[in-house]
């Protein structure tokens, strides 16, 4: 069953007179791993920030499960069902447990349930037993995995990941990619992955949207875009001929 979870229509964004996103039309299907692929500076982070309501688009509409998002109330409700992982992991100055438990406490879950869910999430990211450690003392890779656990612990329906593996060593990259696929499979979480990493897209995405200079050049299945891209710029980017 293919179902539209998030729909973006005619979305545009500018910073000053600089057009950052131009007439974006995109549908995210429930349960997929959608890769928002593009070189650095293409506008991936800006688009994720708009979808998480941190920036107000210059124009266009957002629909969540078919409902147009307009009021702050709806936005707060939708936000509760989503999660976003920033490129640079943020760490609350407290224990690993309190970091990961955050989204559950905000949702007023009871203590026993919180403890169980935090434990499970830490196990998924390979940080079991680190509950009591001060989060600031984690290594870079551990901090990123903790942030990942914090983002998925409350079972969001849609998870936005902004370059989740940049600055990580190969072992951590493999681990994070494995977690992404596991979360998508087991928790049926929809995943939107912004990345400039072509091999990563090949490894884990179902569908791909190629963003170049704020334009969504092509949106298609992974096989299609890598084997027979319909746009010349898309094939240049995929072959690595594109200078950026």
């Amino acid at each position: 069953m293919v179902e539209d979870l998030f729909r973006i229509e005619n979305l545009s964004m500018s910073f000053g007179d600089k057009k950052i996103l131009k007439n974006i039309n995109l549908v995210i299907h429930r349960g997929e791993i959608f890769a928002l692929m593009g070189p650095s500076g293409a506008g991936k982070t800006t688009l994720l920030r708009i979808l998480n309501f941190f920036e107000k688009p210059a124009g266009g509409d957002l629909f969540f499960e078919g409902t147009r998002l307009s009021h702050v109330r709806e936005i707060n409700t939708v936000r509760q069902r989503m999660s976003l992982l920033f490129q640079t992991p943020t760490v609350f100055n407290t224990s690993v447990f309190n970091n990961v438990a955050y989204g559950l406490k905000v949702r007023k879950m009871d203590r026993t349930a919180i403890e169980k869910k935090v434990k499970d999430a830490l196990t998924i990211v390979g940080l079991q037993g680190k509950e009591r450690q001060k989060a600031r003392t984690l290594s870079g890779g551990e901090a990123q995995r903790m942030a990942f656990a914090r983002a998925i612990v409350y079972d969001p329906e849609i998870l936005f990941l902004d370059e989740p593996t940049t600055n990580l060593d190969p072992a951590n990259v493999a681990k994070i990619e494995e977690i992404i696929m596991q979360v998508c499979d087991e928790k049926t979480t929809t995943i939107v992955l912004a990345t400039h990493n072509i091999p990563q897209v090949k490894r884990i995405a179902n569908r791909v949207g190629l963003l170049l200079n704020g334009e969504l050049i092509e949106v298609s299945s992974k096989d299609q875009i890598f084997n027979s891209p319909s746009d010349a710029r898309a094939s240049a980017f995929i072959k690595g001929d594109m200078v950026y």
Binding site: N52, F53, F54, N76, R79, Q80, M82, S83, L84, L85, F86, T88, T90, F92, N93, T94, Y102, G103, V106, R107, R150, A151, Y154
Partner: protein
């Protein structure tokens, strides 16, 4: 008597006054702690919410308030003392309160001096919390209220430092409380030292009067206590800064 003997004799007697818990000296210390402590608590209860309002809310007159806080941080105490004095004297607009020459008037003066200091330093501590930390609260489904609580937790050591800075300033302050409190002690004398128990006499104002009466050992005793109090406050502030 040469200079060294003079100093030595004064210091020995000063230590005796402290070790024997001289009632006059102790009553002065008590008034200092009570007045400055109360003023600091009241100031913190005003300044911290004010700092949060200035950081999180948009309202008319906000820029004016920020200017007021910044100006208030450097207010000359004697000016504040003079201002409160003319308000509170029997002929003044608030003369009916009969507050002049009371500990309450001193608390009011120090409250006005200390509130901007605590607000200003707290504001800086809140501003120092990284933006992505606050945004993370929203990505995890938190609301404005959760963002405020998280900011408070992240900035807590900075805010404690602000309160201690306010307390240090209040304890060391002399101009304002001298004017509005009058440096009053009960008439009579205990064991021939100083006068009766303190009413509005504090460590700082008593040092002024004891020195001018040439009672060097009492002034020294008060000075040693004052410095010890301020040193403790500073050590505590350093401890919390180290925790951050």
């Amino acid at each position: 008597m040469n200079g060294a003997e003079f100093l030595y004799g004064g210091a020995v007697k000063a230590f005796e006054l402290i070790i024997n818990l001289d009632p006059y000296v102790m009553s002065i210390t008590g008034v200092s702690i009570k007045v400055s402590g109360t003023a600091t608590i009241l100031a913190a209860l005003t300044a911290i919410p004010l700092a949060f309002a200035l950081s999180f809310l948009n309202f008319r007159g906000k820029q004016g308030l920020i200017t007021l806080v910044n100006t208030g941080m450097g207010l000359p105490p004697v000016f504040v003392g003079l201002f409160i004095y003319v308000m509170l004297v029997p002929a003044g607009p608030l003369g009916f309160l009969k507050m002049i020459l009371t500990q309450e008037a001193m608390i009011l003066a120090q409250y006005i001096l200390v509130t901007p200091i605590i607000a200003g330093i707290s504001l800086a501590a809140i501003k120092a919390v990284p933006g992505p930390i606050i945004e993370t609260v929203y990505t995890l489904g938190g609301r404005e209220k959760d963002a405020v609580i998280t900011t408070l937790k992240e900035a807590k050591f900075g805010i404690i430092t602000a309160i201690l800075a306010g307390l240090g300033r209040a304890l060391a302050e002399v101009g304002a409380i001298l004017i509005v409190g009058g440096n009053i002690a009960e008439t009579g004398s205990i064991a021939g030292i100083g006068e009766g128990l303190s009413r509005t006499r504090t460590l700082t104002t008593a040092i002024v009067s004891e020195t001018s009466k040439w009672d060097i050992s009492t002034a020294l005793a008060l000075g040693i206590i004052l410095i010890s109090l301020n040193l403790s406050v500073n050590l505590l502030a350093n401890f919390f800064r180290g925790r951050d």
